[in-house]
């Protein structure tokens, strides 16, 4: 009984065996360096093609000292995959992060997007752990790992079949992951004190909060950009006004678009807001229409609602509309009254300029 316990507590690998594996890895390290570089290069091109993504990309072959430390740990944990025979046969099949790429992104949705891209563009090895779900360890570590095969490189078969681990994490998670790795996982220096562990938990919470806030901020930025992007045509104007009023609107939006584009620069959703709240403008316009006995759709109501401010301009604009008198033109005419002719124009009555 005592013997059995003693045997099960023995490490899987002896120090001389670990030395042999590390020495062998040193001889093969160039292959893993090249694999990581080739995977990173392909990934960089694909990420650039995505255009809108902001990211940091790094790659490396595992440092021999880190491999030695990992082998000792796995050996102590008696991880069944880490036998001397398996490591001697093909180390890259056992230690799958000898070649590694890391993509650091701003948000969790970007992490998911990039991971999906990785799984689409690379061939994955035929093994169950090639694409595990996103890792959310109890320790707080957060990332998405994917094992990929080195892509074919022209005239070079040296890296064919070599596995590279691609990690994708947010910038906030990356900060925590690195700290947690150094303090808990690698057990460098001294075991973490209780105070260190408490602070690490606080850092984890702060990083998760940062993830959440960054996502909110970027969503808000996207909304802000859309708010300031020019309204390009009548359909976009209609959409902007319908969004602002939260109801469908009707009327001649092509006319309204040209009218507003002529008097507002730039014509954007933000610019529309600065003209006044659309719901209030529409209510004012409907009241005016009632006063003048005009049947008003939403466009007519909107024009009548801002007419007091833009009367001279709208009269001049409507004066040059071709074709039969439209309801909009009649409404403007009714509102400005017979005193102001629609054919109103402006010229110079005297060409002389006094010095």
């Amino acid at each position: 009984m005592v013997d059995v316990v003693a045997t099960s507590a023995l490490p899987l690998l002896s120090e001389p065996q670990i030395d042999v594996v590390v020495q062998r890895y040193l001889r093969e390290m160039a292959r893993f360096e090249k694999t990581a570089a080739v995977v990173a290069d392909r990934l960089r091109r694909e990420l650039r093609a995505e255009g809108h993504l902001r990211y940091l990309l790094s790659f490396r072959a595992k440092h021999p000292d880190d491999l030695r430390e990992k082998l000792r740990r796995k050996s102590d944990e008696r991880d069944g995959k880490y036998t001397f025979e398996a490591l001697s046969h093909e180390i890259g099949e056992v230690v799958t992060d000898l070649a590694g790429c890391r993509v650091v992104v701003y948000t969790v949705p970007d992490e998911e997007r990039v991971s999906a891209l990785v799984r689409k563009i690379f061939t994955l090895p035929d093994r169950l752990d090639a694409k595990p779900p996103s890792i959310r360890r109890p320790s707080g570590y957060q990332a998405t790992h994917t094992l990929v095969l080195a892509p074919e490189v022209h005239d070079d078969t040296s890296i064919r079949g070599t596995i590279c681990e691609v990690q994708v994490a947010t910038v906030a998670a990356h900060l925590f992951n690195e700290l947690e790795h150094d303090i808990t996982y690698k057990k460098l220096g001294h075991p973490a004190t209780q105070a260190e562990q408490r602070l690490l938990i606080s850092v984890e919470r702060a990083c998760k909060l940062a993830d959440h806030l960054v996502e909110q901020l970027l969503d808000e930025r996207a909304r802000g950009k859309a708010h300031l992007t020019g309204i390009a045509d009548a359909a976009e104007l209609r959409l902007a006004l319908e969004r602002a009023t939260a109801r469908p609107l009707n009327g001649d939006f092509a006319r309204l678009f040209t009218m507003l584009d002529t008097v507002v620069d730039p014509l954007t959703p933000a610019g529309l807001e600065q003209l006044g709240k659309p719901t209030e403008i529409l209510a004012r316009g409907q009241a005016e229409a009632l006063r003048f006995g005009v049947a008003a759709d939403d466009v007519i109501a909107y024009v009548l609602g801002i007419l007091p401010e833009y009367q001279a301009e709208f009269v001049l604009i409507a004066a040059h509309w071709r074709g039969p008198k439209t309801a909009l033109r009649r409404a403007i005419q009714s509102a400005v009254g017979p005193a102001q002719r629609m054919e109103q124009t402006t010229g110079s009555d005297d060409d002389a300029v006094e010095p």
Binding site: D265, G271, L275, A312, E313, H320, T346, D351, V353, P355
Partner: protein
């Protein structure tokens, strides 16, 4: 027949909600003479701004040489007592503005259309807000301004709307 200053003044008088009108430099007759019209009193050494008086009212004419645009403005006119009028006329910037305007729109292109943009206040009152403008085209036949909502509307707003003021 290009525009002249009286056409610009007429537009400003007609639409009091606007404080300035921008036109392309090569469309303004007074700038095409050399030396520039004596009706323009130079207000700075570089020849960037001029004083224009019309029917007892004073206006400021500013040159934006890089944009090829000139602005006639009701604002920023120095009081008579502080006017420092320069004797020597500097026409360098005017020529630069005319050249830039021709480059922007092509000499004799746009079918000879004469464009003007009335410039009003910022709608929200803060820098970066949308601005009240009114796009116009000058009808040579009738000698009057008309509202412009043609295909060049976006282009003309981008070209003519200078940030000053």
């Amino acid at each position: 027949m290009p525009l002249n200053l009286s056409n610009l003044v007429a537009a400003l008088n007609q639409f009091p909600a606007y404080h300035a009108i921008d036109v392309f430099a090569d469309d303004l007759a007074e700038l095409q003479q050399w030396p520039v019209s004596p009706n323009l009193q130079q207000l700075d050494a570089q020849g960037r701004s001029f004083l224009v008086t019309y029917q007892g009212k004073s206006f400021r004419l500013e040159i934006f040489p890089a944009r090829g645009v000139v602005r006639l403005s009701k604002d920023g006119v120095p009081p008579a007592t502080t006017r420092a009028v320069w004797d020597g006329l500097a026409g360098g910037l005017v020529q630069e503005a005319i050249a830039a305007a021709r480059k922007q729109k092509g000499d004799g292109l746009l079918g000879g259309v004469l464009l003007g943009l009335l410039v009003g206040a910022l709608l929200g009152g803060a820098a970066g807000d949308a601005r009240r403008v009114f796009a116009l085209t000058y009808d040579r036949a009738s000698g009057q301004w008309r509202a412009y909502d043609g295909g060049l509307l976006r282009w003309m707003k981008a070209q003519l709307a200078v940030n000053a003021g």
